[in-house]
Structures are given as C-alpha cells and as structure tokens.
Symmetry: C2
Subunit: 211 residues, 2 copies
DNA sequence: ATAGCATTGTGAAACAACTCACGACTTTTA
DNA sequence: TAAAAGTCGTGAGTTGTTTCACAATGCTAT
C-alpha cells in the first residue's frame, strides 16, 4: 500500500468513528457530501482521502457504509489491539483512564503509573495503577506511552521509557522531550492550544456571515 | 502588521515560553540553533518565523533574549488578559483548572460550569463553579470557552454559547460541533491523537539511527 | 587592526495539502 | 427506455509551509 499523506492519516479515525455511528443507525449508504457536513471536512478532500485506498465508492450512489467500514477496519488495524501505558495519574491521566472505555478503539491503556501511595495498587476503570519505580518491571512489551506527568518529571521518565524500548510517546507535558530518532513523539500542549486559539481570534478575523 | 502564517503563529507561544525560561536563567543571548534544539523546530524555520516580524537578530551573534521577549510580549498580547470559561468540570476540566496557574499565560479561566451539585458553589484553584443553568447569567462578556463536557451535551451547550455571543471554542469532545462561520472552533480529540500516533508508528517507520 | 568565525535573513526550490471543476458513470424517475 | 439527477475520482492549479544554501554582516580573539 502506497504512502498516504499524513494529513489524510490523521482524518481516518474521524471517518472511522462516524461511519461506525452510521452503521449503528442502520444507514447503508452515504455520500461524501453528507460525510462532509458531519465531520466538517470538505467533500473533495474526503473523496481524495478515500481515493488513496482505491475506488471505494460508486458514481451516482456514494459509498456503501458496510464496505467502507470493513475496509477501514483492516487499514486502521482496528482488529489488532495496541497496548498503551499511562504515566501520571493526575486529573488529566484519570480522564484518559475513564476515556478508555471508548468504543471503536484499537488502543487500550493496560496499566498506569504514579507515585501517590493512595493510588498505587488500586485501579481506575479496570486499569491497574503501579508505582513508577516498578516501571521497567511491569512494562513488558508495551510500546506506546501517554505522558501526563508534571513537566519537571518528563525528561527523566522519557529516558527510562526509551531505555526500555518504547516506540511512541503522546506527550502532554509542556516539556519538549529529547528522544532517539527511532522514537516517535507527538506533542499536545494544552496551554499552547488555548493561546493559539486566542491569537487566531484576535488576528485572523473570520467571515461575518452565517453558518 | 502583515499576516503571519498560521503555522508560525502556533509556534509563537512555544518560543515565548522558552525565551522566558532563558531569561529566568539569566541568559542574555541565544542563537536559532540553540533554540532549535530546545523546542525541536528546525533552525531555519525559527529564523523564518522571526523574520516575519522584521530583523530581530544580529548576524554572527544571535538574538538578544530580552529584546526578543519584549517584542513577543507585545505581539502575543501577553499584557492583555483574555478571560475564558470552562464548561464541564470532569477530570479533564479539573486538569485545566489546576493548569490555570501556569505562568506566562495571557489567558485565565475565570469561571467554570457543571451540573454536579457537589461541585456547584465550590471553587477549584480559585475558579468558581456555577451551575450550567446559570450559563447565560454568569457568562457576561467572556468570549472564549473550553468545552470538556460529555459528547452528548456538546451540541446543546454549543448552541447556548453561540447564542450568547461566544467567539472561540476549544472543543475537547469527539463531537464535531456546528457553529456559525464567525465562531472559531479548534478541535482536540484525544482519542484521535492516540490512534493517529499508533497509525504512524505502524505505517511510517522512523530512521533507525540515534538521536 | 585584522582574520577568522558564527549567525542571520532570505531567494528559490521542494514539498505537502487543499480545492476546483468536470468527465464518467450510476441511479432514479417518469 | 430515455432523460434527469446525483456522485465519484482525479488532473491540474493554488495555496501554504519547510528546507536548502549562501551572501552579508557583526562578533571575537589575538
């Protein structure tokens, strides 16, 4: 399968989720136009995105929901479960643990780590919480971590994760962590997101007109 | 001031924060190369970003931290405080309320809303929590909202926010909310971010080499 | 002073993503 | 069966962003 643009890849889970909803509603067909309105992505972009996987639709008809969904399930490895570790069970971490039950997910948080003795040994939503000291012992072959610790801890823990052979980190701390090139890091910086929104509001006025 | 590329605008808060750190450390000069290593952005990109604001550096020397910082302070409206309302005081919402105290921020959450009677009337980190029924009464001229409610509530609350004249929404629900064109919405979908990371890990192998 | 070094600022090229617009084909309607 | 309507898939153009690479210039050391 040829390489898909990254921008497209980021939209796939969105499409997948919506198609799932449609299927549950019993809808069997959908057009790029309908999809567009629901997920707020231009219909031409949606058609282009789908076209990277071949001709999935029928002219004059649209897309068959079941077929499309089956296709995405394979493509997104929706069958295969990726195990994830959560580091840092503060408010943000806890939010993730509750999120965990979200359907249509090929990922599962299978363990969490913290230092708070109140939390160690308990579980949240079925996910056990271990002491961070036991990281190496418990981690086994988990390859993906969500980092929701205080920024000051980020570097030290990253180093341990890398040492253990982690492959991907979803970093919610403001620290820009340093990793070897074979480790993929996605940064989500909540403070920056808010500041960026505010900046755009002030400097990039939107149209005055209606929805 | 001419329009700055959006990609650049999103990086400004990052630069700003790091420069602030440098200043606190007493450093008075910095090069694009150093900056690059710290924030993980290519040094040419940093120079290009800065160049949109004019010639801020000195060849052969780098940038003066104080000067640069002063410049950004103005540019990012760092003096002006933007008030923000938080809708939904679950785990994620609570995380934001604790975040609130983050320095170097031109934004402040000044009120929060929920339906849980346990929470109404209390405050978290100094931010009062009101009942969502009182949204219109309390909101006053707050123009920006962070939406951390269950997905099922997203549309109804969005409508009320829009009706009240909100200008920007940072949406953490998986729902793709519908708003008039003059309202700016940024979506942050935690589940999608995780799935995208996993997808990239499987389909976009990184170099084997060292950091 | 002067030589050598470091670093910026930017033109131009490369890359990535989005959007338009339309031909081709299918479905629907009458 | 024929005409009309709907929708995909995509070539080509557009826009936005990153990166290269180097001349210009100021800094540092002696």
């Amino acid at each position: 399968m040829a390489k898909i643009p990254q921008a497209t890849a980021k939209r796939l889970p969105l499409y997948y989720r919506f198609l799932n909803n449609l299927q549950h509603q019993g809808k069997s067909r959908v057009s790029s136009k309908e999809l567009s309105e629901a997920v707020k992505v231009d219909s031409a972009t949606i058609r282009r995105d789908f076209s990277y996987f071949g001709a999935l639709g029928k002219k004059g008809y649209g897309y068959n929901v079941d077929y499309l969904l089956g296709f995405f399930r394979k493509t997104l490895d929706q069958d295969e479960l990726t195990e994830v570790a959560l580091i840092g069970v503060g408010n943000l971490g806890t939010a993730f643990l509750h999120y965990n039950f979200l359907k249509n997910n090929n990922t599962k948080i299978v363990m969490a780590f913290d230092t708070d003795p109140e939390k160690i040994g308990t579980d949240i939503g079925g996910t056990p919480i271990y002491h961070i000291d036991d990281l190496e012992e418990k981690l086994n072959d988990v390859r993906v971590a969500i980092l929701t610790v205080p920024a000051t801890e980020a570097d030290a823990i990253t180093e341990r994760l890398v040492e253990h052979g982690i492959e991907g980190i979803l970093n919610f701390t403001p620290a820009r962590i340093t990793v070897p090139r074979h480790v993929r890091v996605h940064h989500i910086d909540l403070s920056i997101e808010l500041q960026a929104l505010v900046y755009f509001l002030k400097h990039y006025p939107l149209e005055k007109t209606e929805s």
